[in-house]
Point group: C2
């Protein structure tokens, strides 16, 4: 390994910068909340501090453990490169382990309000313990689900499970979440949109359907990130931008010491959003419950963002490490966990607009209407170093349904097709993925450009999501929705 | 694989018998508790029902998944056999997965008392929710620890971690247990033995030392099973007998409908143990708290016993499947979990007498005083099909400390040594393990006999444990200890 290819040599880390971060993280974010006067939301400071440690750990451990993964034959060559060197695979396991360990170590801080409160005895002599056991159960069941998805993701990497068998994996991982939700008789009511209220009333109890909805949500968030993969940085960049979007959304509900307004009337909403004062945050409208839910979400999203950013540094083009399915599973499950536990699953889905687009576009291939090759990643042309859309060939004429779908997609300019000059029969079509769609519309490009385009699309999707959530949603839901 | 060696062909399963068990498990143990009149302890019936399903699942899945493990290169040849065929390794992962899934699905039943109770509203208008959130947190943190040890055990199998690096693994796995114990301000007092009370009082608060004790307990239970390994069935048979011992101990604390006495005065105790009446079990002395703790222990031990028995069927000499480190980690952690959460860690340690013996005997090799070869399993002689004690050779003369230790062990007849006929210097010694000790004392034997000897020793250890716990302990602790 002495004369290793420069393109796969681990990226350098600035030790000074990183070690400089340690005292900052420790001093400001971990020690600060313990010193009087205690800031409002002390656990949030701690969470930021832990996240910085998680970032540093990921930055160091991913390259340090790479050779161990290669030795355990968890490696693969990068199909879109000219060099054949093995790149360590499944490094998402390292990210997931750091993430989960951070969340476990954070437990005493998340419940620190409780630790400082002593048991109160009421005048009637009844001892009331203030410890939020119920919140702790919710937190622990979320951790269990994350751990199971990590485990199953890694098993998928080791045993290379076929994709049809993989689909239910997130359902298994979501069992602890659902079981604890059930055991605690969680709320299964949903708010009905205004236009349907004359029919259904303002609340509908979905009952068992709610559990099916929750497990499908985790299936979607997990697999939709997993199928939008194949180029350096694609999985982790999606996770980073969705995590940032969720964090921004959570921040809207926190009590801010500053006072400002967001002019949402410009987006078509009837209400203004105003910030200011402890426990009277803009969107929380003074509800301590809502603030706590979004704090819960932040506790899970901040370290996730940290490990993803740390991993992205090594996974960026040209990649020094691959995430494996593990990273997709754990990030997808983390998004589901916060969407379900903090009750903003509809908002969460809005942050998945590019994934929904990719999933809908992929459906004809996923469900076998159009033939699906084993890999649908763009095709690499070594001479020009450019990516071209990959194609599926029709060895036998496509069915009438397939022909109809492909023609519609072609008319919408989502794919490119080649037809027989005489019969008009479709001979080949580009594969139905968002990455190929970008290449069809924007022309061949380098791998790094393609992942940048994907990132732009993801950011645009999130901006659209905020517009829909805080602008247009006012048209179908009333103000105090949760 | 058509003409496979008969010795490694999967053992046959009687489908009739096993499928016959399904309706029994379902009807009697799962449906029965739901029918009026509800039996006392309905969840215990359910736990037995789930355990039967876990047993069936293990019996079927271990051979079914064997080829997948071999394909993923998780296999090894059996060093104590003449045939070189690969045997699937790490099948403990299958056991652990079934075990943990069973425990997760059991959650609503474990807390079923709570599900049937409605929230009560006191006359003062305060709503008191009866849901045992605190018990659920304890259950979930135990599951997290089990899942982490499964995960780390499997990583150990995949990455083949060196033993010095493995030692702290159980400490990592016990973090959720400790953190939740801490967050809930768990009791860190211990009862002082009678002879020391004049010094320390009757209760001592160990504080942080208690947490160190808990993490060392999990390190011990995990690693002590792991180092007593190497012959077919050795790991799993230890787990089976310890699990049975814990279950028997738990049963002593349950409310039995029958009334009987155990003549513990014959063992030297001053008190009699009497059984009978709901919530007035023998050793529980009417304490609902104690009954619930031992129920908790049963919920974790019954499915563990089931998967271990199922796996033992395939791991018995000649083994069709190897447990890998995964099984040792998950079983060791399960014992720690019940010992800690149900507060009988001292009693638990008594069930580890053979492991303690093996550990103490091994210390000179573990800590490098006596040279330690990579494998210390007995040596197989293919001609006679017998196992002989394996030996460590002294390439350079042993240190004075090593010579002293070896001479003492030899005098105690725990090992065999070969000395130079003239100088008296030690040239070689049998390896310091309980398996080699059996071979030194009882002579060379077949592998199956050796594991039977180990099982007998384990059973004898448990009998001794019960004598000490319920006989002699009365001399150093008073009656109402918990």
């Amino acid at each position: 390994m002495a004369n290793v290819n420069a393109a796969i040599r681990p990226r350098r880390l600035s030790s000074t910068l990183l070690l400089g971060l340690v005292p900052v993280a420790a001093a400001w974010f971990i020690v600060r909340p313990l010193i009087d006067p205690v800031p409002p939301l002390p656990a949030l400071y701690t969470s930021i501090g832990f996240s910085i440690f998680a970032l540093i750990a990921t930055l160091y451990l991913v390259p340090a453990l790479g050779p161990t993964f290669i030795k355990a034959r968890l490696s693969g060559r990068d199909l879109l490169k000219i060099y054949p060197d093995p790149i360590p695979e499944s490094l998402g396991l390292v990210c997931a382990s750091i993430y989960i360990l951070t969340l476990i170590l954070f437990i005493p801080f998340a419940f620190s309000d409780a630790l400082t409160l002593k048991s109160d005895t009421t005048p009637e002599g009844i001892t009331v313990s203030e410890f939020p056991h119920q919140k702790l159960s919710v937190y622990l069941s979320s951790l269990l689900s994350l751990l199971i998805s990590t485990m199953l993701g890694f098993l998928d990497d080791v045993f290379d499970i076929r994709w049809r068998h993989k689909l239910p994996i997130p359902i298994i991982a979501s069992i602890p979440l659902l079981i604890v939700y059930f055991a605690e008789r969680g709320n299964t009511n949903v708010v009905v949109p205004l236009p349907l209220r004359f029919l259904l009333g303002s609340l509908v109890n979905l009952g068992p359907l709610y559990y099916i909805y929750m497990s499908l949500l985790s299936t979607f968030t997990t697999n939709s990130i997993n199928i939008l993969a194949g180029i350096n940085g694609s999985e982790v960049s999606q996770a980073v931008i969705i995590a940032v979007s969720v964090i921004l959304n959570d921040l809207l509900y926190l009590p801010w010491p500053i006072d400002f307004r967001i002019p949402v009337h410009l987006l078509g909403s009837k209400t203004e959003v105003e910030f200011g004062g402890v426990w009277s945050a803009g969107m929380a409208y003074g509800s301590k419950e809502l603030v706590e839910r979004h704090l819960f979400s932040l506790y899970f999203m901040l370290p996730l963002l940290a490990v993803c950013v740390g991993f992205m540094y090594h996974n960026w083009y040209p990649a020094r490490a691959f995430p494996g399915d593990t990273l997709c599973y754990v990030t997808g499950m983390a998004f589901s966990v916060v969407g379900i536990q903090a009750h903003f699953s509809k908002t969460l889905l809005l942050f998945f607009i590019p994934q929904i687009f990719n999933f809908v576009l992929s459906c004809p291939q996923l469900f076998g209407v159009v033939p699906c090759p084993r890999h649908r990643v763009p095709r690499f042309e070594a001479d020009t170093n450019l990516l071209h859309p990959s194609k599926t060939l029709f060895l036998k004429p496509p069915s009438r349904l397939a022909t109809f779908i492909l023609r519609v997609l072609y008319t919408l300019r989502l794919i490119d097709i080649t037809t027989h000059p005489e019969t008009g029969m479709i001979l080949e079509s580009t594969n139905l993925t968002i990455l190929n769609f970008f290449l069809v519309r924007l022309g061949p490009m380098r791998e790094k450009q393609l992942v940048q385009v994907l990132i732009c699309a993801q950011v645009a999707g999130s901006v659209l999501a905020f517009v829909v959530r805080y602008g247009l949603a006012g048209l179908v839901y009333d103000g105090d929705r949760r």
